[in-house]
Point group: C2
Chain length 196, copies 2
């Protein structure tokens, strides 16, 4: 962009966001400069404040401004249930379903040997410690049903069961609102096996 | 997200970027917090610095840190040619083509009556003043070939010709590297009419 270093730096910084390529970054930069300088200031502040204040919840590892996150602090949640998810986004999805009243543990990742992410890179040891607090009666594995999510669930289930904990896995089945003819065969097979 | 206000504010601020929805904004926020705190700091700084230092070039209206942008300052550019584009991104595309050595004028928009953007909202008056500096011998209209870009070019051409200026338009034709069978009919028709 003709030697405008400040603008180039902004485009480069936007490009580091996940899912943003060179053209999108340029479009974002021009949009902020031309039409939304207030939005640019707000984003800068939000980024600084987040980096300063947000860290991991001491108990479940999701992001929080406090020692414990709002869910871990909530006395109305059932401490005997511990649901293991890959990311805070998965935690948010489960919360939106309004169908779970236990606590969470966020792995902040999943096993992915191809990317060099092994058992020690996700929070397996912290999870084993957390689950052995004497109150947790059931660990619900809610990692994804991708190959990596399944492998993660498998490894965690073995380690947790070896310590005498009850381990369950989210049910696989036909998505709500789906017509059977549009559901993939593997899902139908699982829904048949897990029928109730 | 369970009452984490700082995190919610970050997601909301990211969501204001063009092309970013609720899910992307959440993913970006988690990514920055979990994997790229340095990138978050860099983005915050780049946003603040840009908002502080970047403004419009006094002559061509693109973004610059200086009074005049690098192109307008360059004595090697031909001041008799003035190329009118919609956005700084279009200017950048023309520069990348390495085939133009004149100066630019950036409208920062285009006529779009449906969106309430009329002749006074794009820089028509400033363009007429700029083009009447006594040096400009030819104004090349390089607005897009969308309906709005064509309408903009039409209005500008009339106003510029009324002041005795020579006005040209970018050629329409078959894109480089295209097989004719995949080119739309309107483009082929224009390429025939404009044959040389």
């Amino acid at each position: 962009m003709g030697g405008e270093q400040v603008l180039d730096e902004l485009v480069e910084a936007l490009r580091r966001l996940p899912g943003v390529g060179a053209k999108s970054a340029q479009r974002m930069a021009y949009h902020l400069l031309q039409h939304d300088r207030q939005g640019a200031a707000r984003l800068a502040q939000a980024l600084e404040r987040s980096a300063l204040r947000l860290h991991h919840c001491a108990r479940c590892h999701t992001f929080t401004e406090h020692d414990l996150c709002a869910i871990c602090r909530d006395p109305g949640r059932d401490p005997r249930l511990l649901c293991v998810v890959e990311t805070p986004a998965d935690l948010a999805a489960l919360e939106r379903s309004n169908s779970y009243r236990g606590l969470y543990f966020v792995l902040m990742g999943r096993l992915s040997p191809l990317d060099g992410i092994g058992v020690h890179d996700i929070g397996v040891q912290p999870l084993l410690q957390r689950a052995a607090d004497g109150t947790v009666a059931e660990v619900i594995l809610a990692t994804g049903f991708s190959a990596e999510g399944e492998a993660t669930a498998h490894v965690l289930a073995e380690a947790l069961r070896a310590r005498g904990l009850k381990v369950t896995r989210l049910a696989r089945g036909v998505p709500a609102g789906s017509d059977l003819e549009y559901v993939d065969l593997s899902t139908i097979a699982h829904a048949l096996v897990d029928r109730r």
